[in-house]
Amino acid sequence: MNSLSDNALMIKVKEGDLHTLGLLYERHKKKLFGFFYNLGNNPSISEDLVQNVFYRMLKYKDSFASDGQFGAWMFRVARNVNYDHHQKASKRGFSEEKNIENVNYAMEDPINETQNKKDNSLLLRKALAQLSEEKRQLLVLCKFQGLKFSELAQVLDISEGAAKVRVHRALKELKSVFVQLEKQ
């Protein structure tokens, strides 16, 4: 069972073998957690959002196309979960962690990291927080999650060429914001 592809496992889930979702969870939980965390959510909320992704995978398992790409489908669900969470949060009248001042939890990383790396990581997180939601997602999905441009295009429902152009633009903007923050 462990050697089966993600698609094959998800088809099993779709056919009613719900227990198989456990294997997909083990394979992708860290990836999804990193996705939410690097979008600016705190660790506790990131964990809740991961849980929500798998809940929705079960609920909407019939929407998984058997010949589709599991990774792209999973991250489409994850984007929706993130969007819904922040919509609800803003309706409740607060923005938990999507601001620059509150990204300092990144400093709670293990102490064996060098200070320089910590500083860069924090500055990068602050720079990312200043980008639009779409640009932040593009960079996190492409670089940190290692999605191919073809998969990225599927997640965002755009062409592969457009995905490349948008990642390029987002990178340029990130660098520019990062340099400005570095000067401060």
Binding site: G16, L18, H19, L21, G22, Y25, K29, K30, F33, G34, Y37, N38, P43, S46, E47, D48, V50, Q51, F54, Y55, L58, E108, D109, P110, K117, N120, S121, L124, R125, L128, L139, V140, C142, K143, F144, K148, F149, K164, V167, H168, L171, K172, L174, K175, F178
Partner: protein, 69 residues
């Protein structure tokens, strides 16, 4: 972008590197993009807690019980 993201075949990579060697203008533009790409490597995340696993197991268990009824 595809070169940096590792989305090219070995042949395509070689061709791109050759192109950069012959076109200095593109080389400097590429170096700029590359530095931004490398910058992103500083991005990391902590490990999720065991509570997340517990929550998932509970959720899956509930779904399986519901299905069995």
């Amino acid at each position: 972008m595809a070169y940096l993201a590792g989305g090219l075949s070995a042949t395509e990579e070689s061709a791109f590197e050759e192109f950069l060697r012959e076109n200095q203008d593109y080389q400097s533009r590429f170096e700029e993009v590359k530095s931004s790409w490398v910058l992103l490597s500083a991005l990391d995340s902590p490990e999720p807690s065991e509570a997340m696993d517990d929550g998932f197991i509970k959720m899956l268990d509930t779904a399986e019980r519901k299905q069995a009824k």
